[in-house]
């Protein structure tokens, strides 16, 4: 596919490297010359210096024949203008990165189905918000308007779930254990698999029964009542809005005086403290000690790690830290940050979804990309309609975790039969994707 990327900042560069790896032809337009030459040396792409809103530059670089365009600079109006211009030049789909929802509601954007707004900061905020709704889990992703959840959780070492094959265990109704992550890789569980201590479990089930499921694997979960957020940037802003909407008490720590005032003015329900989140006195004033979550969401990775550690020291139950530099992943693991989150991996998942045109979720769940959660729609005359689930030639390294049929949710057993139009959530190792495609597609 021929893909154009405008703006090679953090998001743009990351998209470029993902897409280049997948073998797409990339044209990147960036204003900063130094960035351009860096791109040229690091990636096999066509990098051009120039203004992505300039129609001449777009035309010269053959944007008209591109299949997809990403306008992902950090300037909302510039991204909008670039996307609108590209649409006129004949690009089928344009993704415009936006920071503020005022721009997303602009009729120029909403009335053109070929322009897809992308809010990276909001995606990250939604992901963290999802986590706070399933305390005890280390990851959560919601489907079907929030009624269905995929969560990752590490069972308690004392839970009575070890040493017996899975089919002999009694779990709560409506939950399907879909993946087991071990130090030696990802395993798709079968009835005779046995859990080991230290496994990370991926399970799909109904949102309302999350506490029961977590209890069954010995994980305590108290509803989230208070969250402290360090950093009032876009992520902090969106997250506080979501939390305040759910009546969770929010405290934001923000260093800049002006931004602190603006946040306090814009989010009436939140308490804003002005100060440095790496200062224990500030954290104490924010009462992190009795907060359910501490979210370090500043742009500064070192500060995020440090403040998360301080928050835990002061007694915070769960600490979430954002990190932007991939090489810090191991550091965060080493210092045992409960929930490290990489915005770039998260956003990349969404970008790839747009490129592939299918639901690819949980990129960040399974680092290294060995497994994915994919949503398939059952097409008419698909192989999947031939018989009950157990009779189908379903790949062994994949598991059908849930079926969304109109308003109903189904947790499939062996005797489940698919219908045309069912949306099937499949947890799969990447090598089975092709086989799954065959199963659900029209013959």
């Amino acid at each position: 596919m021929r893909i154009v990327i405008i703006g090679a900042g953090e998001v743009g560069f990351h998209i470029a490297s993902e897409l280049e790896r997948e073998g797409h032809d990339l044209v990147i337009i960036e204003q900063n010359e130094a960035r351009v030459s860096e791109l040229q040396t690091r990636l096999d792409v066509l990098a051009v210096t120039g203004d992505g809103c300039d129609p001449t530059i777009l035309q010269q670089n053959g944007v008209g024949s591109a299949d997809l365009l990403f306008a992902v600079s950090n300037n909302d109006p510039a991204n909008m203008l670039a996307a609108l211009t590209a649409r006129r030049l004949g690009v089928g789909r344009c993704v415009a990165r936006l920071g503020s929802d005022h721009h997303g509601e602009n009729p120029l954007i909403t009335e053109d189905p070929g322009i897809v707004p992308l809010y990276p900061e909001r995606l990250v905020a939604e992901e963290i918000f999802g986590l706070t709704r399933v305390p005890g889990a280390s990851r959560a992703h919601f489907f079907a308007d929030g009624r269905l959840v995929l969560l990752a959780a590490r069972p308690s070492r004392k839970a009575a779930i070890y040493k017996k094959p899975l089919k002999e265990l009694e779990g709560p109704e409506g939950w399907i254990l879909s993946g087991i992550r071990r130090t030696d890789g990802m395993v798709i569980p079968r009835g005779d698999s046995v859990l080991r201590k230290g496994d990370l479990l991926y399970a799909v089930g109904r949102t309302e029964s999350v506490p029961e499921y977590l209890a069954s694997i010995g994980v305590e979960s108290q509803p989230t009542r208070r969250v402290v957020i360090a950093g009032g940037g876009q992520v902090g802003y969106w997250l506080s809005k979501l939390l305040v909407g759910r009546e969770v008490a929010v405290t934001i720590i923000q260093r800049s005086e002006q931004r602190a005032f603006d946040l306090a003015a814009e989010i009436p329900g939140a308490l804003v403290l002005r100060g440095d989140a790496t200062d224990p006195a500030v954290l104490r004033e924010a009462r992190v000690g009795d907060a359910d979550y501490f979210v370090a969401s500043t742009q500064d990775d070192e500060a995020n790690i440090l403040s998360s550690l301080l928050a835990r020291e002061l007694g915070c139950r769960n600490d979430v830290a954002l990190y932007h530099r991939p090489e810090f992943a191991n550091v965060l693991q080493a210092v045992r940050i409960d929930l490290p989150i990489s915005p770039r991996l998260m956003v990349a998942g969404h970008i790839l979804k747009m490129v592939h045109g299918r639901e690819v979720l949980g990129m960040d769940l399974v680092a290294g990309g060995v497994a994915e959660v994919v949503e398939f729609e059952v097409r008419p005359r698909a192989r999947a309609l031939k018989g009950a689930l157990i009779e189908l030639d379903f790949p062994r390294s994949a598991i059908a975790s849930a079926i969304i049929r109109g308003d109903e949710l189904h947790m499939p057993g062996g005797d489940f039969r698919f219908q045309v139009g069912d949306r099937v959530l499949v947890f799969t190792l990447t090598d089975s994707l092709a086989a799954l495609e065959k199963l659900f597609r029209e013959r």
Partner: protein, 483 residues
């Protein structure tokens, strides 16, 4: 400092006052009052001085008009108007009457409504009309009027408007300031016409109807009757005036929205809602006090009295339907406190204004909260809007200044031999542009008995209060000698 520009504009103002003086001249002449020549002389004098100033300081080509000029011009304009307005009284009642004349005129323009006249119904019609007309001219602001009719004033007009308009923040309603001023005066004239017409339809004589309309919409207080509005002794008339006093005490920007077919802002406005709540609560409390301690038998009568008086004091109109000085202690004490409420910002009312009270009370609560969390950022919200820190500070300073000036005024008046109730209530009534106080200056009394020095002090306080303190006080800090 652009003195030429200021004098030129004052000349223009004098010409405008000449035009205004024509109205009472004609009315007095038609009614064969012997006062008509007083108005004629005053008008001629103002006209001659006005033309001279205007010609001498003919408008220079470049017209540097900044904040300094704005403050000086606004203060000077109000003093000039008050002095010119005193001329007819001096010509009619004699030169020995000069302090009283200035007092009456200033009380008129600043919409205070405190009078030194004892026998109002015995005065000629020209004089009565001039009293109400000065209210009406001062109510929306003579500078606002100037901006509306004189396009030249539009330069630096926002500063001028800010220096004169009531409320902590001045907003334009339309892109052009002259349009804003026209819109304000249009609404003002419309409301006035509505009162006059309603009163006339209720059977009030046309002269009384017009005069009370001027006084009501300017939230001023001069009446054509000795017993103020109580003189009509008609509940329907009182209720009409109550409704229009409330409207005149609301922000005119809200009326502007309403007339454009958007009633939403009026009912969602936090200040307007609190303003109504204050009036309603005061009505209930005073009615209860009147029934329990005041010997008023019927509930209806108690509500009639208390609603009128609460509204008249909160909106700083200062009409009365009863001698509330004779009411029980609680009612008197509450009415005294209500003198410090005032209507909404951007209205014709005086005193502190509801929104300032809201801001200061919220600031108080926030400062207490901050003792526990010193780093917390708590914005002060009025409705959904957060008030910038700078405005909050200036409002706090305003309150402090207001109370200080009130206290100093009361103290000096007591030094002149007035009792405490009289001294402090007169101080608040003048500074808040309300009118009647309590004690010797109560609603059934008047300011005639006060010593001359006290009258001059109160005159000054009325102008300081009308221009919301800063515009006058800043004159002492302009740095006159520095270039």
């Amino acid at each position: 400092m652009n003195y030429r520009g200021i004098l030129f504009l004052l000349g223009r103002l004098l010409l405008a006052l000449t035009a205004a003086l024509a109205a009472p001249t004609i009315v007095a002449y038609v009614h064969r009052g012997e006062d008509w020549w007083s108005f004629l002389y005053a008008g001629l004098l103002a006209g001659v001085v006005g033309i001279t100033l205007e010609r001498t300081f003919a408008q220079p080509k470049n017209f540097p008009f900044g904040r300094r000029e704005a403050f000086v011009l606004v203060a000077a304009a109000w003093v000039t108007a008050s002095l010119v307005g005193a001329l007819p009284y001096i010509f009619h009642y004699g030169i020995s009457f000069w302090i009283d004349a200035i007092f009456e005129s200033t009380s008129g323009f600043t919409t205070t409504g405190a009078s030194i006249m004892t026998d109002i119904e015995g005065q000629p019609r020209g004089i009565l009309l001039w009293r109400s007309l000065s209210h009406w001219l001062g109510g929306m602001g003579i500078i606002v009027l100037g901006i509306a009719v004189l396009p030249k004033l539009a330069i630096g007009g926002m500063e001028l408007l800010g220096a004169e308009a009531p409320g902590p923040v001045t907003e334009k309603l339309t892109p052009r300031i002259a349009q804003t001023a026209k819109a304000l005066w249009g609404i003002y004239a419309l409301l006035t016409a509505a009162v006059a017409l309603t009163l006339w339809l209720l059977g009030v004589g046309s002269f009384d109807a017009i005069n009370h309309a001027f006084s009501t919409i300017a939230t001023a207080g001069f009446s054509t009757l000795d017993a103020s509005v109580g003189g009509f002794n008609r509940p329907a008339v009182e209720m009409v005036i109550v409704v229009f006093m409330i409207l005149a005490g609301a922000n005119f920007a809200l009326h502007f929205q309403l007339l454009r077919g958007r009633p939403g802002p009026l009912f969602r406005d936090a200040e307007f809602r609190l303003y109504l709540t204050v009036i309603a609560s005061a009505t209930v409390l005073i009615a209860a006090d009147l029934m329990i301690n005041g010997g008023v038998g019927s509930l209806l009568e108690a509500v009639r009295l208390s609603s009128f008086q609460s509204t008249a004091i909160v909106t700083t109109t200062g009409f009365s339907t009863a001698d509330f000085d004779q009411w029980p202690h609680f009612s008197r004490a509450l009415l005294f406190l209500l003198m410090f409420v005032g209507g909404c910002a951007g209205s014709t009312s005086g005193s502190v204004k509801v929104v300032r009270g809201m801001i200061v009370l919220k600031k108080l609560a926030i400062d207490l909260k901050r003792l526990v969390r010193p780093r917390a950022v708590y914005p002060i919200r009025i409705g959904k809007r957060a008030i910038p820190e700078g405005v909050v500070t200036s409002v706090t300073t305003f309150m402090l200044l207001f109370v200080s000036i009130f206290a100093a005024g009361g103290l000096i008046l007591s030094l002149m031999g007035l009792d405490m109730v009289t001294a402090y209530s007169a101080s608040a009534a003048a500074l808040g542009n309300i009118g009647p106080g309590q004690g010797l200056v109560g609603p059934a009394q008047n300011y005639a008995v006060l010593p001359g020095a006290a009258k001059l002090l109160l005159t000054g306080m009325m102008i300081v209060g009308r221009l919301e303190l800063y515009t006058v006080l800043v004159l002492f800090f302009l740095g006159w000698r520095r270039p």
